[in-house]
């Protein structure tokens, strides 16, 4: 399970990177796009050379468009009693069970060996806490997903979580701590503490909670089609 943490800066480039590399690698990808529209990911992936629309058409990619669904529920075009994966928007007590069942339904029929493996990518798990889903419900949801993907289907789980520079949101901190306890690899992305720079866009720390000694810190720069990683202090602005 990969945990991507963005702190104060925009870690979306990691999501794009993971989606495109898994699609290129021939995995079956289930993608929960909760904060951005599908068109956004499509256009970025097109720049990186992968067509998400084509992947969707041939069944390699299953996308849940959170924005469209939430609009449907909020505006009321969905009827009152229709079950929806985002039912928690109607009734907060319900929790995220419906969403989990949707994911299960999407991921299960992959026992045919067309694809190398399965992976679930969640863009912005902190979206749930922003929408005031209770912390317990989110943790249960993640636990169920982990069992489904990492144990039953032998696949990967990639989640993006956002935190803030100053620790104001206690729930987010608890969420982050519990998630990092269970994750295999944590990629922590933050901006430079000294301010914005043209050559270095931020700092990335790759750590594995199981092996605390193996922590790697890089600084990165986002290019048009790639991410350039270099050890701290060796950016082209300095050298």
């Amino acid at each position: 399970m990969y945990l991507l943490v963005e702190k104060g800066t925009d870690g979306g480039f990691l999501t794009h990177h993971f989606i495109t590399s898994y699609i290129r690698g021939g995995y079956k990808v289930c993608f929960l796009a909760l904060t951005q529209s599908f068109g956004h990911y499509c256009s970025v992936a097109q720049k990186l050379g992968v067509s998400l629309q084509a992947a969707r058409d041939r069944g390699q990619l299953v996308v849940f468009e959170g924005l469209v669904e939430s609009l449907r529920i909020m505006v009321g075009t969905a009827s009152q009693h229709e079950a929806s994966p985002l039912y928690f928007l109607r009734n907060a007590q319900k929790g995220l069970m419906d969403l989990y069942l949707w994911v299960k339904g999407a991921m299960e029929p992959t026992n045919d060996a067309d694809w190398k493996g399965s992976v679930l990518i969640v863009d912005d798990l902190s979206c749930f806490s922003i929408l005031s889903v209770p912390l317990q419900a989110i943790l249960h949801f993640v636990h169920y997903l982990r069992i489904l993907l990492c144990v039953q289907l032998q696949g990967d789980l990639v989640m993006l979580v956002a935190t803030a520079d100053d620790c104001v949101d206690e729930e987010e901190e608890f969420l982050l701590k519990s998630l990092s306890h269970n994750s295999t690899v944590m990629v922590h992305v933050e901006g430079l503490s000294t301010g914005a720079c043209k050559e270095v866009h931020g700092q990335m720390t790759v750590a594995s909670p199981r092996k605390p000694s193996n922590v790697q810190v890089y600084q990165y720069k986002l290019l048009d089609k790639a991410i350039q990683l270099f050890p701290r202090g060796t950016s082209s602005a300095v050298l």
Binding site: G8, T9, D10, G12, F13, H16, T35, Q36, S37, G39, H40, S43, V44, K47, G66, L67, V68, S70, L71, I73, M74, V75, G76, Q80, L89, R90, N91, A92, S126, C127, S129, I130, L131, S132, P134, A162, A164, D165, D166, V168, D169, E170, E171, E172, E190, G191, L192, G195, A196, C197, V200, H201, G202, L222, L223, D224, K225, A226, I227
Partner: protein, 370 residues
């Protein structure tokens, strides 16, 4: 042989929608609209991208956020965009009637076009005193030497106000009524609504859902999502003072950040509307009333641009002679330019641009008289 005045070489250009009042961004192919304040456009990287949400955290008395909203709406009127105004404490019609007048440049005088045009052998007709709208009609002299210029218009159109990006406004006059009436304008004023009980299917506050429905129907009716095949236009949404208790939510009443649920759900659904249509939204929230910083952070997370206003009036900073000429400070605290088709290279790092002083007294003639 190519027609005079044209070459056969055509540069192939990417089809970018030609909507009045917008222009493509320099960094990527996003469509930008002006906020009405040219210096703010510059800060935002050229303008506000279509499909995004600009959050303004209000100052203590709400004056300047209202001013920014008026600039935004006035720019929409001048660029012939559609407007949607929602407010709960101030009637939207009052806002619309107090929009500032636009300052237009004088169109170019014909005599100024005597640029060196070598080879022109025919005499230009004598220049009359310039009038704003004057088309040269009768002179159809054959050009003997510069015949390639025959079919070009003799006078280039003066910069019409509709096609320029970003205008200057004057608060001492209000916008002409004719301009305002030419624009499709929808309003949402809760005291005018009859709240029908039992219609809300959510366990959230009663007012955000009707607002969302009104926005959604405005987008669909106006064809801003391209569904009806009308010529493309941009819808500007101005939502004043969301998050106060008057909207029926308890954000400002409790320290618990989960009380922001109605507002954040509304913002998420609003984002869905914005991304799926050609619209831009400007939302103001009274951030100084929020009791928990976590709540504010959540609201910020769902916006694309955040602008914090801090007024100097009454804050003791008046006394400092350094700040004497300025009326307020703003700071932006959000990575800019994050929306539809951002590519990896256009993302900036964490941006806290510090304090940027907006020169309200230079860009708003007549503002001090307000």
């Amino acid at each position: 042989m190519a027609a005079p005045g044209r070459t056969s070489f055509q540069k192939s250009r990417i089809k970018i929608a030609q909507i009045p009042g917008t222009r493509p961004s320099l960094q990527n192919s996003q469509l930008l609209v002006s906020t009405g304040v040219p210096s703010l456009d510059y800060l935002l990287g050229g303008g506000l991208a279509v499909g995004t949400l600009l959050l303004i955290e209000e100052d203590a008395f709400g004056n300047y956020s209202r001013v920014l909203l008026k600039y935004f709406l006035a720019e929409g009127v001048v660029s012939h965009h559609g407007l949607f105004v929602a407010s709960v404490d101030l009637h939207p019609d009052e806002i619309c009637q107090s929009l500032p007048a636009v300052i237009l440049e004088e169109p170019l005088a014909q005599g100024d076009r005597n640029a060196p045009q070598f080879g022109r052998s025919c005499a230009q007709p004598q220049v009359e005193p310039p009038t704003p709208v004057q088309t040269l009609s009768t002179e159809k002299e054959e050009m003997r030497i510069a015949w390639r210029y025959q079919n070009l218009p003799k006078v280039q159109n003066a910069l019409r106000s509709d096609t320029r990006f970003g205008h200057n406004y004057d608060f001492s006059h209000t916008m002409e009524k004719e301009r305002l009436q030419a624009i499709p304008c929808c309003t949402f004023y809760p005291p005018d609504l009859s709240i029908s009980s039992g219609s809300s299917t959510l366990d959230t506050s009663a007012l955000y859902q009707p607002l969302l429905r009104a926005i959604h129907s405005c987008v669909l009716d106006g064809g801003y999502d391209g569904s009806q095949g009308q010529p493309k236009n941009v819808l500007r949404l101005g939502l004043l003072s969301l998050g106060t208790g008057l909207w029926g939510d308890g954000v400002v009443c409790s320290k618990d950040p989960s009380a922001t649920a109605p507002l954040t759900r509304f913002l998420l659904a609003l984002r869905a509307v914005l991304r799926s249509s050609l619209s831009v939204a400007l939302v103001t929230v009274p951030a100084h009333l929020f009791q928990s910083a976590a709540a504010l952070r959540r609201v910020r997370h769902l916006s694309d641009y955040v602008l914090t206003l801090q007024s100097f009036v009454g804050s003791g900073m008046d006394a400092n002679p350094l700040y004497h000429d300025y009326h307020e400070a703003t700071s932006t605290s959000r990575p800019l330019g994050r929306s539809e088709s951002t590519d990896e290279s256009s993302k900036l790092g964490p941006v806290n641009l510090g304090w940027i002083f907006l020169f309200f007294w230079t860009i708003a003639p007549g503002f001090l008289a307000m």
